[in-house]
């Protein structure tokens, strides 16, 4: 596996290694959920190699030690131990399922090394008041996503809103939808139905039936993509014509083109390839050089993480220690080059970001392309 390869590389290239910033990553590189997380790591790696090629950070190279945890908590624990005790990394990253968080948090606390979540939902502890060692740059924002979604619904709706909710029966999704339910009531919307579907369901039609019978005109769904899209497709087949709002996962751009439905909205924080920004050309170039075989639209999150890591290490004076890296991360402002609505800012109190920007997209049948339904809207991240 890569970890033993990397150890050999470390021994072999000892002279070079001493001059490099090293970061440790435990990621779900393989396994059933890997398609969501492996692209993030690959993109980050490709970007950091690109940075190395441009002269490195503060004149030194950056090295990523990636260990596969297959989204299993016990493996994540072992990986963390190895990265901290053997590789002695000053920054630890987690690009894996939320069930791997707890063991890595425990390890990070034990050694005082900052833990940066770059793959899955940001834990609540990164919101202000933030836990001293946990940081997060991932697009999802618990509670914030629902705030943005419901704000969009309220802005767009011409009639009184009858809203229904959908979530997969995993604790994080359920917590989010429960919050959204409460929030929607304060916004004057009528909640008509809430359906939680177990993963995986052989047929989403029974859940869709219940939803359609309640006759909502809007549906907000926040789950892994499969639950979101299948419920939508089942609802459409049952003859429902309302508007469906859902979270933009890595594959959202591709899926919008596949589904081709004008009332299927996705809300997210990362810019789409559609916008054709200069940074997208950079991403394409980096991906081509590293010969990544993921669709380029999957690489945004990894690129964001790469930008953050680069900036954090740039602000860390040599030689790097966990405390210096922590100090740099506690006072960070990263230019996202348009990939997000604004710069990513971390402070001592806020390890999530000070402002979260959202855009909403849908498919335009007439023009046969993706269009923006709403441009960057900022939500302040407060206590």
């Amino acid at each position: 596996m890569r970890k033993l390869l990397c150890i050999l590389a470390l021994l072999a290239g000892a002279a070079h290694a001493q001059d490099a910033y090293v970061i440790g990553v435990s990621a779900a590189m393989t396994g059933p959920v890997a398609p969501n997380y492996a692209p993030v790591v690959e993109a980050m790696k490709a970007y950091l190699e690109h940075v190395d090629g441009r002269g490195g950070i503060n004149g030194r190279k950056v090295r990523m030690v990636v260990l596969d945890d297959q989204a299993q908590p016990s493996r994540a624990a072992t990986n963390a131990k190895q990265l901290l005790d053997q590789e002695k990394v000053p920054m630890l990253l987690n690009v894996s399922l939320s069930s791997t968080y707890a063991p890595m948090i425990a390890e990070s606390k034990r050694t005082g090394v900052p833990l940066y979540f770059a793959g899955a939902v940001c834990p609540k502890e990164t919101y202000p008041p933030a836990d001293p060692l946990q940081f997060c740059s991932t697009a999802f924002g618990a509670n914030l996503d629902s705030q943005a979604a419901l704000a969009f619904v309220k802005a767009q709706a011409k009639d009184p809103v009858r809203i229904a909710f959908q979530a997969m029966a995993i604790p994080i999704a359920r917590a989010e939808i429960d919050y959204a339910e409460g929030l929607s009531k304060t916004l004057g919307m009528t909640v008509v139905e809430k359906q939680i579907s177990p993963p995986p369901a052989p047929d989403y039609t029974p859940f869709a039936t219940k939803l359609v019978e309640a006759k909502p005109n809007w549906v907000w769904s926040w789950s892994p993509w499969v639950a979101q899209v299948r419920t939508f497709e089942s609802m459409r087949r049952l003859g429902w014509n309302g508007k469906y709002l859902t979270w933009a996962h890595l594959n959202a751009e591709e899926e919008l083109a596949r589904i081709k439905d004008g009332d299927f909205y996705v809300v997210g924080t990362n810019a789409f390839l559609e916008d054709n920004l200069p940074v997208h050309a950079e991403i394409r170039a980096v991906a081509a050089r590293a010969k990544l075989d993921y669709p380029v639209s999957y690489l945004t999150e990894g690129f964001v993480a790469g930008l953050v890591v680069e900036q954090a290490l740039r602000n860390t004076p040599w030689p790097p220690t966990p405390q210096k890296v922590l100090a740099a991360m506690n006072n960070l402002k990263v230019d996202m080059k348009g990939l997000r609505g604004g710069p990513l800012e971390w402070t001592k109190d806020n390890h999530f970001r000070t402002k979260q920007y959202y855009r909403v997209w849908r498919w335009d049948r007439a023009g046969n392309r993706i269009v923006r339904a709403q441009d960057w809207q900022a939500i302040e991240v407060k206590r």
Binding site: P32, P202, T205, P206, T209, K210, R258
Partner: protein, 289 residues
């Protein structure tokens, strides 16, 4: 009415998967816990033939079905024949191990990305109105396919030579062997048919919802339906599937959608406590060592 349609579709899914469990158990008294993976294999077979025979969807379907049949027989001839006569636990574990092996092999060959065979076949999954409710085209295909498969199996087992041989081998293998029935051939055929029906179920589910690794878990969820009906009765498989599907859909609708995950197993437990051999199964000694 929509509820009835939903129950029909779900019951068809379960029934189609169950008849595989039942066929193998009835004929060779082995519980095949690799059925979920064989379903997935059938679905991947369709994905492969769809890309091979681009533009000829019916040919792709037929090829995939034939492939499933052959793979089932091959599984028996390669592995399961060695497990005849071994203890129950060993045989079940051999199927579990086979399932694990197949899963790993499929990921190595096909990767973990979700595929959409229906799109590759060039068809779309439209919605069809029926009796005031709506059903998807694939859902309708599922119901029809299940009906066809069951009718075909009933006819096969009752009136054809090989079918009678299969029933004989299932009832009393020793006597059947002494009467001149080649047991290996019968068992291979049973495995082939089971994989064929399971593969069909897998293909249809993949057409409806997309092809990814979680298909295996659906195969597993159908397992209580087989047990509730009786592991060696096809009628039982139908009835069991209806019962479990009805319980699931009604609970989702009237009580709590979360229970739909646990309900099949709760029904199973209740059945095991009251009547372990199922509604229509033969009352066995429950001991095969």
């Amino acid at each position: 009415m929509q509820l009835a349609v939903n129950i029909a579709v779900l019951a068809s899914i379960y029934a189609l998967i169950c008849c595989g469990y039942v066929l193998i158990y009835r004929v060779s008294r082995v519980l095949s816990l690799a059925h979920g993976e064989l379903m997935l294999l059938g679905a991947y077979g369709l994905y492969a033939t769809a890309s091979l025979f681009k533009g000829h969807p019916l040919l792709a379907l037929a090829a995939a079905a034939a492939l499933a049949l052959m793979v089932g027989a091959a599984v028996y001839l390669a592995l399961m024949w060695r497990m005849t006569g071994e203890s129950v636990l060993a045989a079940v574990l051999a199927t579990i191990a086979l399932g694990i092996l197949l899963r790993g092999a499929m990921i190595l060959v096909f990767g973990t990305q979700t595929q959409y065979p229906l799109r590759d076949l060039g068809w779309s999954n439209a919605s069809v109105p029926v009796f005031g409710a709506r059903i998807s085209t694939v859902g309708l295909a599922l119901v029809l396919a299940t009906a066809a498969v069951y009718l075909g199996l009933f006819a096969f087992l009752r009136w054809t030579r090989w079918g009678i041989r299969m029933r004989a081998a299932g009832q009393h293998p020793l006597l059947a062997a002494q009467r001149g029935i080649g047991l290996h051939g019968v068992y291979a055929l049973a495995w082939g048919l089971a994989t064929f029906t399971g593969g069909m179920a897998g293909m249809l589910i993949a057409c409806d919802a997309g092809l990814e690794g979680t298909l295996v878990i659906i195969g597993f969820k159908a397992f209580p339906a087989a047990l509730v009906g009786g592991l060696d009765s096809l009628v039982g498989a139908l009835v069991g599937s209806l019962v479990v599907a009805a319980a699931e859909v009604l609970l989702i609708h009237h009580v709590d959608p979360l229970l739909s995950d646990v309900v099949p197993f709760a029904v199973l437990l209740a059945m095991l406590a009251v009547r372990p051999w199922g509604l229509f199964g033969t009352r066995e000694e429950l001991d095969r060592v």
